[in-house]
Symmetry: C2
Subunit: 430 residues, 2 copies
């Protein structure tokens, strides 16, 4: 039984602060102690010498411990092209993405990038992510192998594309089905790994492949479905051309039975009340990727329309690297705040940290396993450093309340803010 | 005669890449040598052992040397409140800014913050900035003293406000005039220090004070005028109420003779062709502050309308700390790119780096002194590190051209990208 103990200020959420007062939605223990055992949290409470007796304690001063961050939308093969110049979505895919992804036919390249990618996530405090691989089986195997070795809880899947992409990146409805099925059998539920059926988006899959994707997903309960929705106006027009019988973009995915619990839709920019209502009714999740939405000029996600109390939609944050410009969920919160401001709404720090932790976990149907620091939960948590940089240290001196401190992390924090990352109770090296 | 030598890849601009092809607008020496003498650049050219003979050479590998960055709009007293939650412009001023600024009646506090502020600018590679102090003479003295000690070329001035702010932050038209005049006499042109007459914005100055500001500026040729214009719709409505005889916001400043060469207008979001035409005709400068404009939900600056070849407007970048969220001009370029994308335009890396260096210098009427690495120029330059972070090193491996490398700096660079900052030929400590 591997037991360890971590001491410091501990933040965790109990309710959704979009619908509850901040003070009712979180717990904060000024001087707390987390005891973990076999990868899970055994106890959490105020620190006392008695509680820590006999244990080696990692004591973090000038820090806030919170659950590991959750990223609902990221492309690991795009790490090498983060920050690629000049295009909006469709040209950007052709000019950069579909070039970079061809490298992942090589298992060696995939392994190299998977390792660097996971390391970068941990440096940024992200302990769970929903990850797009490429069309190559090799890319998925390499990813899950590295994630298994780290024991991180990751969701990932092979991209399905059988049209409108370069030949080396295409499979067929049948091959995509068979390869995905084999990967699901090999990886889904093995240790902490989870599989996501991953049709890239409607324009790159034929109706046959969307149909095969739905079968894959429904034949394997517990797996995820991840894809893109309504990111860019050019994309919308193209979808309309390809699926003329569907009024709205979402209708395509609905028609193929791809919308439901554990389906994660990245972006959701150009949508409106009927779509929000469908997401609510069908219990699907939106991945909010603000750094990408600004970078590709897509628009500002209507977060506060999604989080309407009368028909709430599940929302998680996504970095969307390489369309996004940072692996850091803190930097993503900076731009989530800005996107909200551009919509004349305000994302407060409790709401932001909730989205990054428990809210993300619930949106990924993992709210009973990760995203909270509570007994029984998997022991994924991070240590945020109040003095990470000279400016952070200076600024924090003027932040009096917890809300202010968290907001400073949201605004000027980055990977350096993360002093330590624990995965299943183990402190990671980075 | 203090002589020093720096070796590495050297980038400098010769023309404006908004109006000229990239390859015609910059010089790039793969292995170059800069020799400085008495604070100025004595020579620049390809490195040869002969050229470096007898000199101690700082040799920077895996790096690009470029002119120091130029920030046209920043509030040093707001350093302590960077990232303050939740408001748009007018409430934000009342809730945070006007509270923080009252601390600067204390010379000791002003000195402490000026020191940290200048240190942070240098860490971020900014060697020249146009800086707002507070209404207090002490805040200006503290700032110029620290800047003088560092020998940085800075533009700064006492804020003028005689209405619509808390009493401790108000002066009068006459007192503001007298105090500013004394500060100009003491500091303008002393070493590298330059003075900017600084009415905060139209709503916080009476017509009498705007009139006094114009007199100050015109009576002291070579000084600057800095203020804010059209940042926020609430501000626009308020200006209309306060100056009912002025059709457009800019008309207020025009009426008081405050628009001309060496006037710097921060933000300029909600403006249109007549304003652009006035800026062009009157040779005034716009300060483009994208991180602030997103953070306060103000909007996206129309950069490519400003930079229209037929009637070009001078534009410089500004961080606008503390409405802005970063001291880093690289992070500011990240969001300048995003603001351009949101306007369906594309800011390329050469344009970005031009704005950050020579373009900024020209917009501040300092194009013959700073912003370029050329013989005779003041020796302010920085060393950008191609391997500053694990992700930067990985990403740069996939950036083949100079344009790509610069764009990666624009997108994922930050203070860590700056390996060294030279001010007047001297390598700064930070």
């Amino acid at each position: 039984m591997a037991t360890s103990a971590v001491r410091g200020s501990i933040l965790s959420f109990t309710k959704d602060p979009f619908f509850n007062a901040p003070e009712d939605s979180h717990t904060f223990i000024e001087d707390g102690l987390i005891i973990t055992q076999d990868g899970h949290i055994k106890s959490v409470g105020p620190y006392t010498p008695q509680a820590a007796e006999g244990l080696t304690v990692d004591h973090y001063k000038d820090a806030i411990i919170c659950p590991g961050f959750i990223d609902s939308h990221i492309h690991y093969p795009q790490s090498q092209m983060i920050g690629a110049y000049g295009e909006q979505l469709l040209e950007w895919l052709n000019t950069y993405t579909f070039v970079a992804e061809q490298d992942f036919a090589s298992r060696k390249h995939a392994g190299k990038v998977a390792k660097i990618f996971l390391q970068e996530l941990l440096r940024c405090g992200t302990t769970t992510a929903a990850v797009y691989c490429t069309v190559h089986v090799e890319s998925v195997e390499a990813f899950f192998e590295h994630s298994s070795a780290l024991n991180t809880r990751m969701i990932a899947g092979k991209v399905l594309m059988d049209r409108n992409a370069p030949a080396p990146l295409l499979d067929t409805a049948e091959r995509g089905y068979e390869e995905s099925r084999a990967l699901i059998e090999q990886w889904h539920g093995r240790g902490r790994q989870l599989y996501a059926v991953t049709p890239r988006f409607a324009p790159t899959s034929t109706p046959e492949q969307l149909d095969a994707a739905a079968r894959l997903w429904h034949e394997h309960p517990g797996t995820y479905l991840q894809t893109h929705l309504s990111e860019n106006l050019g994309e919308l027009a193209w979808v309309k051309e390809l699926f003329p019988d569907c009024d709205r973009y979402l209708d395509v995915y609905k028609k193929f039975n791809l919308v439901g619990p554990r389906s994660i839709y990245g972006h959701c920019i150009h949508i409106d009340e009927p779509d929000f209502a469908d997401f609510n009714r069908l219990n699907a999740t939106m991945g909010h990727c603000p750094t990408s939405n600004f970078f590709l000029g897509s628009g500002c996600f209507k977060l506060f329309e999604a989080k309407k109390a009368a028909r709430p939609v599940k929302v998680a944050l996504g970095t969307d690297v390489g369309g996004g410009t940072s692996f850091s969920i803190l930097e993503t919160l900076n731009e989530a705040y800005k996107a909200a401001q551009m919509n004349q709404t305000r994302l407060n720090a409790f709401q932001g940290f909730y989205l990054a932790t428990r809210g993300g976990a619930e949106a990924l149907d993992l709210g009973d396993k990760i995203g909270s620091i509570e007994p029984g939960y998997e022991a994924d948590f991070i240590v945020l450093d109040l003095k990470a940089t000279p400016m952070m240290e200076f600024r924090m001196d003027y932040a009096k309340t917890l809300a202010e401190k968290l907001f400073v992390f949201m605004t000027i924090g980055d990977d350096r803010s993360v002093r330590a990352t624990y995965v299943a109770g183990r402190k990671m090296e980075f």
